[in-house]
């Protein structure tokens, strides 16, 4: 039996197609240059090398990744890697001394702190960037433009499971429309933060909402149902403008819409949240780590925007800088 000529031809054609497509370039706009960085490659004498390992939250990951990408434009010989084992997994590795930086969407917990202490891992906590948790509804929802924290609590708390099923149970003048809830899954920092702020305790939430790892899916759930409601980071609101609508939240001082400004000045409360980078003090002894961290602070606004987060305010930046300087002092740099 001979080799089937048809099979070979098909395969060869496939490969040729692939290569041709590759050679001809694609349907993307823009050229192949790095997008608008204002930094340039360091002079030969200042070139550093080495490897920096970051791991942790998948929410904060894009921030560190954006930073690493831009940093590579300045110091191309420093290899920065970013993992997404989750905030908890990141801390586990961090406190075992395996990583230099831990990305976290929540502050380190006591039991994790204990392990770090046990292993002699000294660290500095840096509030690296801000994020807003938007509460979104379907674009056709014209009645819930502003909800108070109490109302949100009424809808989302554990006791509401099976009981609060309709919008008109939230406020008497709301229409008769079924509520469909969607949001982050139980093992994400977003979930932790939302439940803590709205329901008073991490993990306190009704169990009958559509949980998902992927916020894009939450977008779909909300946009697909008139009475839909969900929560996720601001970045997803911006990217899905026609499909979901962010509502204003009244944290006690009036209705505030989520935006860069309101997150920064704290008026979008209580759903503006800090995101953290935990850095091992010992790693600060290495020049490439110092360079990287100071790069992150110096270019905070640009990195934050690239990663679709909210930059630090000047005040927050100062605090972070102070923390950074303290760590430097500790290693005697």
């Amino acid at each position: 039996m001979r080799m089937n000529p048809r099979k070979i031809t098909v395969l060869a054609l496939g490969l040729v197609l692939l290569l041709t497509a590759a050679a001809c370039g694609g349907g993307r706009d823009g050229d192949d240059e790095a997008s608008g960085t204002t930094t340039e490659v360091a002079a030969d004498g200042d070139r550093l090398s080495g490897r920096i390992e970051a791991d942790g939250s998948s929410t904060v990951g894009p921030f560190t990744t954006a930073a690493a990408e831009r940093f590579a434009g300045v110091q191309p010989d420093v290899q920065v890697t970013v993992g997404i084992s989750g905030t908890g997994g990141g801390f586990e590795r961090f406190c075992a001394g395996e990583t230099d930086i831990s990305n976290a969407s929540r502050p380190i917990k006591d039991e994790e702190k204990a392990i770090c202490e046990q292993n002699g891992i000294d660290y500095v906590e840096l509030h690296a960037v801000n994020d807003g948790l938007a509460v979104v509804v379907n674009p056709d929802n014209d009645w819930a433009t502003c909800l108070t924290v109490e109302e949100l609590n009424t809808i989302w708390r554990a006791e509401a499971e099976g009981k609060i099923e309709n919008w008109n149970q939230v406020r008497a003048d709301f229409p008769d429309e079924r509520i469909l809830l969607a949001g982050a899954g139980t093992d994400s920092g977003t979930f932790d933060y939302f439940t803590e702020e709205i329901n008073g305790d991490t993990g306190a939430i009704r169990a009958d909402y559509q949980a998902s790892e992927d916020d894009n899916v939450t977008v779909q759930a909300v946009s697909g149902s008139r009475g839909g409601m969900g929560f996720f980071g601001l970045s997803y609101v911006e990217e899905n403008e026609g499909e979901v609508k962010a509502i204003e939240v009244d944290g006690g001082d009036g209705c505030v819409a989520p935006s860069t400004e309101t997150v920064q000045d704290g008026s979008y409360s209580p759903l503006g949240r800090p995101l953290f980078l935990y850095a091992k003090v010992e790693s600060f002894g290495r020049p490439e780590v110092q360079e990287f961290m100071s790069f992150v602070l110096e270019n905070n606004a640009e990195i934050a925007e690239a990663a679709l987060f909210v930059p630090l305010t000047d005040e927050q930046l100062e605090t972070a800088q102070a923390g950074f300087d303290a760590a430097l002092a500790e290693v005697g740099a």
Binding site: N4, R6, K7, S57, S58, I84, S85, G86, T87, G88, G89, F91, E92, S105, R106, K109, E111, E112, I115, A158, A182, G185, T186, D187, S188, G189, D192, T195, D201, T202, G203, A204, I205, A207, D208, Y209, Q210, A211, S212, E213, D214, V217, Q220, A221, G224, S225
Partner: protein
């Protein structure tokens, strides 16, 4: 002259006078290969057992097996695994109902009806289906199958067992089809010829001669498919939901054991806590269940296998 020896269990063999140590070495090497799979199982059990035991120190086995609410990361927590079991079996059941008959049907067609050249093209083409990453299948279930089901009038939740089950079933069709088809191709042609000579139709030859003759391979493919369906992680994570509940309605969201393990294992839960150790307890449960399933299926296969020649 060497006399034929009857070694226990093996077929009668003529042995050379001189002992060839090379043969023993080869047998040893092959046995070592087989040992790898044993070591894997031992490793899995060890990796699961210790944290699982730690878990069971805090949550009693009875509570784990009989409570009907699974909410380990909520406040107040509840650790009943039944909803997860329910989710896994619901999705697996749907998948199996799809891949078993249709996989076999495809195999019969390829083996008995298709011309050799057609078979040579179709079989690998079908195997491409097996190569699509499960991530892609997951999103396919979510963004194509669920809207499709809704458009024909089924009120499915955005995450539901039906979409995931259907997609897993389709994904497993190549596995069942390919392996079954190999088994059917290996059935001696003389059997078919004899049946045709006696006036049987192709339908009769396929169903009454070939399939029974190839049953060992077909059942092997079924068992592989079921195992795969039970252990499938990504598709259910994306499309079946994370709402642990007990229900037989495939249109609702559920949570399978594997989805829970994957979500929690890569999430933000701190290690070493009871919440995290739920992964190991659930993993161990899954392991034990599939073990029981496999013991049963091996017994069944042994009873019904036909040997030709």
């Amino acid at each position: 002259m060497a006399t034929p020896e009857l070694t226990s269990g093996a077929r009668p063999r003529l042995r050379a006078e001189r002992r060839r140590w090379g043969e023993d070495v080869i047998k040893g090497v092959l046995a070592l290969c087989a040992l790898v799979s044993v070591l894997t199982t031992v490793g899995i059990v060890l990796a699961l057992l210790e944290p699982a035991l730690e878990f069971f120190r805090e949550v009693s086995i009875r509570e784990f097996l009989t409570t009907t609410r699974w909410a380990p990361l909520f406040e107040p927590a509840s650790f009943g695994v039944l909803p997860l079991l329910n989710g896994t079996f619901l999705v697996t059941g749907i998948a199996v109902l799809l891949c078993m008959p249709f996989g076999l049907g495809a195999a019969i067609y390829l083996s008995e009806y298709a011309r050799p050249r057609v078979r040579r093209t179709l079989k690998p083409a079908l195997e491409v289906l097996a190569g699509i990453p499960t991530v892609v299948f997951g999103f396919f279930a979510l963004t194509f199958v669920t809207p499709l089901l809704r458009s024909i009038g089924l009120q499915v939740d955005i995450f539901n067992a039906l979409s995931a089950g259907l997609v897993i079933g389709v994904m497993l069709i190549p596995t069942v089809a390919s392996l079954s088809e190999d088994a059917m191709t290996a059935v001696p042609q003389s059997l078919r010829d004899g049946a045709y000579a006696l006036g049987s139709s192709r339908l009769q030859v396929s169903t009454r001669i070939v399939v029974p003759a190839a049953i060992s391979g077909i059942v092997a493919s079924y068992v592989l498919a079921i195992s795969r369906a039970v252990g499938e992680t990504m598709i259910v994570l994306i499309a079946a939901g994370q709402l642990a509940r007990i229900t037989f309605d495939p249109r609702l969201s559920i949570e399978t054991m594997t989805a829970f393990i994957a979500a929690t294992g890569t999430g933000d839960v701190p290690r070493g806590t009871v919440d995290y150790n739920t992964i190991f307890a659930v993993g161990l449960t899954l392991f034990v269940i599939t073990l029981a399933m496999n013991i049963v299926s091996i017994r069944l296969v042994r009873r019904y296998r036909e040997v030709y020649e």
